[in-house]
Symmetry: C2
Subunit: 424 residues, 2 copies
């Protein structure tokens, strides 16, 4: 019998307890042993968690408990969780965590501390989709060319609604909050930070890259409006919040999380509503894609328990981040954000007067930005205004940012111009 | 250094050798050791395989070679391959195989013989998609409700062309043969047998079920024509060749491989061309889907080498079929084909005369078959004929088969009626 202690008994923790009990037949058949939750650590024991295990507020009741073999860390947060997991590992306990923020900052330190002890983190990325296992083990023969993921269900729910029902961001966010798909403070999700944490975890497995969330390009979906949706549909694109890790020349890796126009024909463009999807291109296998629920108590608990079963069956199924020596000489470094090259879409609201278009295209030309397609729409609410919708050929992030600044300062520009990257 | 012998150096074998050499940096970083192919067994050593390793026609040069740690079986076939793998395991060598036919017949015997030795078979199902790992390890906390797969690239290529370009089966098959997507004798693929072999492997992991290909419902795509495609489009369906494993009441499992109408909105309906996709529904995680190339030398070799790396890193990453004890008491048995319940689509070519429809609906009624939708089309080539296209509500396979026989005997039926199952 394997005894498990759970630190943090919220939605996911309660699901873990419930599934360990209700699916004990299959879990025992697959792992060869009974896996039993014996203690939960919570802040407030008086709150009903709907679980039958004993609860305590003293974390040492699991960390120092010699009966407990495996610790499941579901407390969230970064630094406190790091101390807790460190202590668990130092006490010789294997650990399973669903904490993406912890790993976004401390994954290499934890790998070193864990050594030969297993530290499972399947649940930290894309909930119930076994993407860690696929990338770390299933695709291990490949140099990874790129990872493109839809890894935030809140963003995907909002953008799908905006695409299908022609409603504005704010209205859908309100609905998402009512449905429980968005937090009261939605910044972490709609601002792209949640997805960026997950991206860093996947990029470590693919490239062994060292970077913190602060180091990479992170943008959200707050500025997208129905005109962008109109343009996307007109040119055969879907708008998604994407996380992208891409291998570039000179052992550099691009890492970014932002909204993007992607061709509707791509498989990942078809991942709708709250679902997640991750497309991985390996140099030998080509494209594989993984789709499923990226959040929710039971889906996330499914991943937590898969890690438990792996640990009980075979100990560690792989080194934590999937490599025993530095990947390709450990030489991958982060590409400077300014150097990222992609295509762009721009929305510019202007005074509808002669010569405006000339001014704008001149600015773009000065920064070496070449226009690929162009649409002009009259403004229905403001008869003196027009909206210009462009897409560009490939250019550098620095050029587009400089052009945007100059456009913003034009007296003929009525609002701050909006830019969305195009990935095809 | 880990030394590998390869039995069968065709397309996949040559890719394995090439990738082990060209991606040796990443393979060594991930596995912790050099993995080196040292000998290939072929029927004819004079044929150029494009590989630099020594070739031999004597299989004992690898089976009895004490220097070789791992055998890769790529010879194909059932009984000879079984003897070879058995001998390798008895000689204490771990084995990796891509041979689905071998496993469709001998998976349980091989599991017993292997015991604690690893026997990797990721490449046997869906080529480069790590579906064995996902199902066996990633979803291990779940009772599996169903598996629906598009697991034959030839069928999917043909059906996608038929849907998109309104061409008939025979013409697309010719094209597929010219492109190398179909064999000279295409029966194994377009008849559904290849997909059925793969289904049995997945169903063993999900349900521990014992069955041979002969025991299950297998049909191909040869009877589908442009009228079926027309009906499918009209009612929002896509036609795919599906493999289905589904848990039913009383510890029964349905296993079947056949063409099916599936709602175009489903994620798996969007898997087009030669690609494969497998949707798995677990009782806790809900639906996850896995997409990628199901065939091809490099994609299949990617899966073979993933198994090699797992074996080198950790020995066995899981019991071969994913369970250490009988699943749910080992009690799953195959549902009798007659008892399968689903919806059906039927195409009946009739003499266009008064009273025909009455006769047909009376026959359906006699077998308890209730019509859900109906279309009648005049026959453009034969002005005395009409084509009737039905869909039904749920009924049993036995009822539809009996009704089909009676319809076929009607003098007003001009051709043998055609039936396609509907999965929604």
């Amino acid at each position: 019998m394997i005894k498990v202690g759970i630190i943090g008994v919220g939605t996911v923790g309660a699901s873990v307890v419930k599934i360990l009990e209700e699916n004990s037949d299959i879990i025992e058949a697959r792992s060869g042993k009974k896996i039993v939750p014996v203690m939960g650590i919570v802040r407030d024991t008086s709150k009903d968690r709907g679980v039958s295990i004993p609860l305590s507020t003293d974390i040492n009741d699991v960390l120092e408990n010699k009966d407990i073999d495996i610790i499941i860390e579901l407390m969230g947060g970064v630094d406190d969780a790091f101390q807790v997991v460190k202590k668990a590992l130092k006490n010789g306990k294997t650990v399973v965590t669903a904490n993406k923020a912890l790993l976004a900052y401390h994954r290499y330190a934890l790998q070193d501390i864990a050594g030969d002890l297993a530290l499972g983190f399947e649940a930290s990325v894309a909930g119930g989709i076994p993407i860690i296992k696929a990338l770390r083990e299933g695709l291990s023969a490949n140099h990874i060319e790129s990872i493109k993921g839809i890894m935030n269900g809140t963003c995907n729910f909002i953008l799908t609604k905006m695409m299908n029902e022609n409603v504005e961001f704010k209205a859908v966010l309100d609905e998402a909050q009512k449905l429980g798909y968005a937090e009261a403070d939605p910044t972490f999700d709609v601002g792209g930070f949640d997805a960026a944490h997950k991206l860093l975890i996947l990029a470590s497995i693919a490239y062994g890259i060292h970077a913190n969330p602060e180091d990479i390009l992170i943008e959200g979906i707050e500025n997208i409006n129905s005109e962008d949706i109109f343009f996307a549909k007109e040119f055969g694109y879907n708008i998604k919040h994407l996380t992208i890790a891409k291998k570039c020349a000179n052992k550099k890796v691009e890492l970014r999380a932002h909204a993007a126009l992607i061709p509707s024909s791509q498989m990942i463009a078809k991942v709708d509503d709250v679902m997640n999807g991750i497309s991985v291109i390996g140099d030998r296998v080509g494209e594989t894609m993984y789709y499923g629920p990226g959040a929710g108590g039971d889906a996330t608990a499914s991943a937590v328990i898969a890690d438990l079963i792996d640990i009980v069956r075979v100990g560690q199924s792989s080194p934590m981040l999937g490599f025993k020596r530095d990947l390709e000489g450990g030489g991958f470094t982060l590409l400077n954000v300014d150097e990222i090259e992609t295509k762009y879409y721009m929305r510019i609201k202007v005074v509808d007067e002669i010569g405006v278009l000339t001014k704008i295209t001149a600015i773009l030309g000065n920064f070496g930005i070449s226009v690929n397609s162009f649409l002009q729409k009259p403004d229905l609410k403001d008869k003196n205004a027009a909206t210009l919708l462009f897409s560009t050929h490939k250019c550098k992030e620095k050029s587009i940012q400089n052009a945007m600044k100059e456009l913003e300062n034009l007296s003929t520009c009525k609002d701050k111009p909006v830019m969305i990257r195009i990935e095809d």
